[in-house]
Symmetry: C3
Amino acid sequence: MQSDMTMPLLAECASDLSKSLPRSQRDPVIGIIGSGDFSRSLAIRLVGCGFRVVVGSRQPSRVAKGVFPDRVEVRSQREAIHAAERVVFAAIHPEHYHSLVGLREMLAGKVLVDVSNATTLTSHKQSNAETLAELFPKSSVVKGFNVVSAWALQTGAHDGSRQVLICSNCSDSKAMVLELARRMGFSPVDLGSLCASRGIEEAPLILFPSWGGPILTTLILFIFFYGYIFLRHILLPYLDHRENNFYQLPLVTVNQTLPAVALVTLALVYLPGLVAAVFQLGRGTKYKRFPCWLDCWLCRRKQLGLLSFLCTALHAVYSMCLTLRKAAGYTLLNAAYHQVKAGIENSWVEQLVWRADLYLSCGILGFGVLTLLAITSLPSVGNALNWREFTFVQSGLGYAALALSTMHTLFFGWDFAFSPGAYPYYLPPAYLLALIPPCIVLVGRLFLAVPCLTLRLAKIRKGWESTQYWPVNNQEPGGSREAHPQQNFDDV
Amino acid sequence: MQSDMTMPLLAECASDLSKSLPRSQRDPVIGIIGSGDFSRSLAIRLVGCGFRVVVGSRQPSRVAKGVFPDRVEVRSQREAIHAAERVVFAAIHPEHYHSLVGLREMLAGKVLVDVSNATTLTSHKQSNAETLAELFPKSSVVKGFNVVSAWALQTGAHDGSRQVLICSNCSDSKAMVLELARRMGFSPVDLGSLCASRGIEEAPLILFPSWGGPILTTLILFIFFYGYIFLRHILLPYLDHRENNFYQLPLVTVNQTLPAVALVTLALVYLPGLVAAVFQLGRGTKYKRFPCWLDCWLCRRKQLGLLSFLCTALHAVYSMCLTLRKAAGYTLLNAAYHQVKAGIENSWVEQLVWRADLYLSCGILGFGVLTLLAITSLPSVGNALNWREFTFVQSGLGYAALALSTMHTLFFGWDFAFSPGAYPYYLPPAYLLALIPPCIVLVGRLFLAVPCLTLRLAKIRKGWESTQYWPVNNQEPGGSREAHPQQNFDDV
Amino acid sequence: MQSDMTMPLLAECASDLSKSLPRSQRDPVIGIIGSGDFSRSLAIRLVGCGFRVVVGSRQPSRVAKGVFPDRVEVRSQREAIHAAERVVFAAIHPEHYHSLVGLREMLAGKVLVDVSNATTLTSHKQSNAETLAELFPKSSVVKGFNVVSAWALQTGAHDGSRQVLICSNCSDSKAMVLELARRMGFSPVDLGSLCASRGIEEAPLILFPSWGGPILTTLILFIFFYGYIFLRHILLPYLDHRENNFYQLPLVTVNQTLPAVALVTLALVYLPGLVAAVFQLGRGTKYKRFPCWLDCWLCRRKQLGLLSFLCTALHAVYSMCLTLRKAAGYTLLNAAYHQVKAGIENSWVEQLVWRADLYLSCGILGFGVLTLLAITSLPSVGNALNWREFTFVQSGLGYAALALSTMHTLFFGWDFAFSPGAYPYYLPPAYLLALIPPCIVLVGRLFLAVPCLTLRLAKIRKGWESTQYWPVNNQEPGGSREAHPQQNFDDV
């Protein structure tokens, strides 16, 4: 008897069969109020995970055969709540919550799971879960499962997002729903008490929350460079001497803008790391929080990097299509005409040949390295790396890509930037402007590679703190620290 | 004592050690009959998941040291079955099942797992699992684990497919094997009773079941367009005036066919959604099932989309290789010769320059958007999106890609379609034919964006049903519905 | 009472709430010594997984509010160890392990988890875990969690590597930590006793262990072909008749080297499979281990294939950029000049047009097939295939890609290899050398497709063994085998 009771986890599936009771009487029963799409998908998933499910409908007779799987019982709402052992899902529209008030006493002591979404982003309203909690003060309301689609529920967590955000004021009920979510194959995230429910309800309304800033930055850079090149190459020449370059607008100008945007964005990926290092060096500790803007910037590096890669890839495709343009054909034909008329047998200019081959080479290699970086950003590839490999790829290859892209631009510029003709209307070429941020980053990185700075930074990152920091900022007596020379003891 | 018994799940690993029994005596024992590749991999996995394993071999002495891990005991078949608490895997060739008949009484009451595959797709034979169940009427036979390779078993579910299809006539035994599969890191799918075992056994024989229809569709479209272009551009000109265009067969004709196929296939991705909306609008409810062909079509949209992307990507690469062709060089040289001979200093035609730049731009952007769509089709990327983000990408970006591709084709066509010369032998150019389906889809989509239709559709998709629908189709008295104004109550 | 005790696993979350004890008193308590970065991340994860955590710091008062989540108690090291039920993590620098010696008696009987990394790859030192085990002989030391980054711990196993390598001399303690790791969402791998700890500690120091050989192979091939082409096309012509081709170094030579490397590497992917088949045919059994070099080679096929794909992709991009080069423009202009001067109206050479179109077609298709192969190498895509689909893609499409690449090279070579001019300085062109390995593989594959060999191989792979093999190699009497005609009985 004792040995049976204390049998470890893994033995349970073996001991399961030895019971005389039929299985269906031993599984926990989950209740679902509502018989709509979400209810149906939830029931399919719960049954598939070994639970018994009773669906409560206003009109159980109206629910068509075959809508729910055979193992799901469809009964009245009252019967479903009665049958549910502990957990009842409220899978109905929030505007109909009040209609359940008559079942208040039956729901007392049960865990009521609110799965509804917010419909608008209004900041001054109560959340649906809070409304439900007010209506049923004797039940413990748990918010969750709203970020999951009916489709993900039905097809399994393979194909949908696994993350389920959960909150509740009752930690026991929350623990139960967390466990339930885990058994259903989701990755529940505990967000604390019910005051987080507004955020959870609004989560599906906010698209790609971490992409807003980076996309905006990229867009602003694109508009700036496009406008600048339009002004310098098209508008001013037209106003000045009626040169018609407007045909360049759809393709050529875009292809001049994209590499500038890509280069600046890539520099913005590595700039915050340098700024953070400077902060740590200046403060002499890693334990003080970075300013908010820097924290936020550091968290957006992956998105900035992917947008930089997107611009680079588009630039590559645009460039490879350049010779397909009718304009390229006409230019070549006219050049041939003039060469023949001028009687030049060989128009070869060795220097220009080298320039083109060098900037193409650097560009292709830089693009290749960036592509490797983008591939390791795929969740399934990143998961297969340990963190040192990930760091090597993201930092080592990242700087290689930045250096190659900068060289691509420098070779493209060649020595033309030194001739006065490169500054019509006193405007420098766009690629010169785009070179400023990456050059700052590369010079800054080289500067940090000076041994004394590198060593100090490594020490700080291992937990060491410079003593002059504490008295100034935290008012902790410096003396008490001297007594504990092992202050970096507690870190790995 | 009481507190020990009621200790929750998560405490068990902590309480585990407090027992005086050695661990090996408390783990459940799994038996495996057979000592081949599959048996070995199964044993490695089971042992790795904390089970004790006893392998039963005809000749245990012949099994070489080191083939099985140390913790696996290799004994006679009789001893292995005796040692197994409940579950015995039959990892032998199905043609040898009869040789186990002598062990029938020993196997009585145990769960016998059949892991065999079908060797041919013959529809009139009994499945291996059914044969096993007949031979051992007192054991409960469970079918499963056959879709998993020995390799996936050994290396863990990371690298192999996680899905394990399981069926059995005994629901208790099935529940036990489902739990076992879960503990081994697989995602078991319960397919019901043993009559499903034929399908499970044949599953590994059918390659990419969901890809058959879409690939066939794409192939038929490819053959049609290739044949059409061959006829119009190569065969008829040759028969008519001996124009030799046969050199176009390997590359140029393929590159004219691919965009046509890609455009039609992309339109086929968005057409079924429109048809479904029309069905829902016409019926006034979303609760009636779509016809079978539409259901099937809706389920194949992802595959059609990926095939369309494949054609688009090939078209992009082919196009970018066009100027590498010797033919392109010769054409340009001959044009230069004629321009010089004719004494034309500048052959620039502004309109054709604009046309080329515009259709290249639209093509590149459309290809870029399609690539984003294809990337979000990767399981690991799709998992990282919540369902509203997924819908935004798949529907919003999808229509953008369709619109850009259509514009790419329209700009390519320019105004040439209005000149009589575009219809040699009364055959319209292929791109005109390919434009028909996307134009239908885009016009249909615009039509559904009319406010009254959009609002009605949104209402229907929230669960509202038009009253005139029910009496006609379901013969349910309309009156009883009026008494329940909250008929859309039960949905989320 | 009885029914409560025997309640199956899935019911526990339901029964959990029925207890009168508050939940926090029933969760197991985990102790963490150290309050650094890793400790903090570990605590966040453990609390998120439902454990109670007590962190032991030298100076609990110095740990700032908000560094640890609210549910984590920060106390003295002594109190933390006392509070921990069984498991204590030692999240401090290994050089400070000796400072814990005073707590030796308190730690007796507890499980001490060493999470430290090696700092250098020195083969003659004791591992950190072994040092810890020596210091605390009464505790059971378990090595693990070191390959996980603090970041992966905090953000969940979604974003970091899931694999956790674990070893210990005490199998009970190890089992407990394995279970703990599983509950934290990781995939623990049991590597046996503590003597494996050195390897585990050094694992994060070795970057991409399975990539070393393949990358070296590819590099050597690259250097060989680059040198060969440099010699044949640039250096010897320069020494011979001062022909200046040095401008080809950055791009043209690289683009001639890459396809040769890609082709040879791709052949190296399929060669070991053939060698293995020959071994199996020769020995008449699949049960004898392959020689070590072949085993190793077979395990590196995926890496070789991906490197071959990388070279192919770079070759494709380089080739598509060829017409962007200034040199290409000059060549065309000069050709136009000469054509005009020579008065050739049409320079079209039908044969050369066919050659270019054919080799471009084969190249594009081969590249397309290789891309499909590379995509199915992504973990998340490969997971969605069952093993027969995976085999079909990797083997079927792989040979298709090899055949198309070989044809690409053969069409590129055309009949030029038969002219004496193709052998300046008696050196054959590089592509001829690169064709040797793939031709060997393709001919070998065709040879193995001879029915008698195919059937014999299939029999062997099903487990059949030729009788003449055993007496020669294993000295097992052949007679005893004849008595058991079902020797292939034990395999699936």
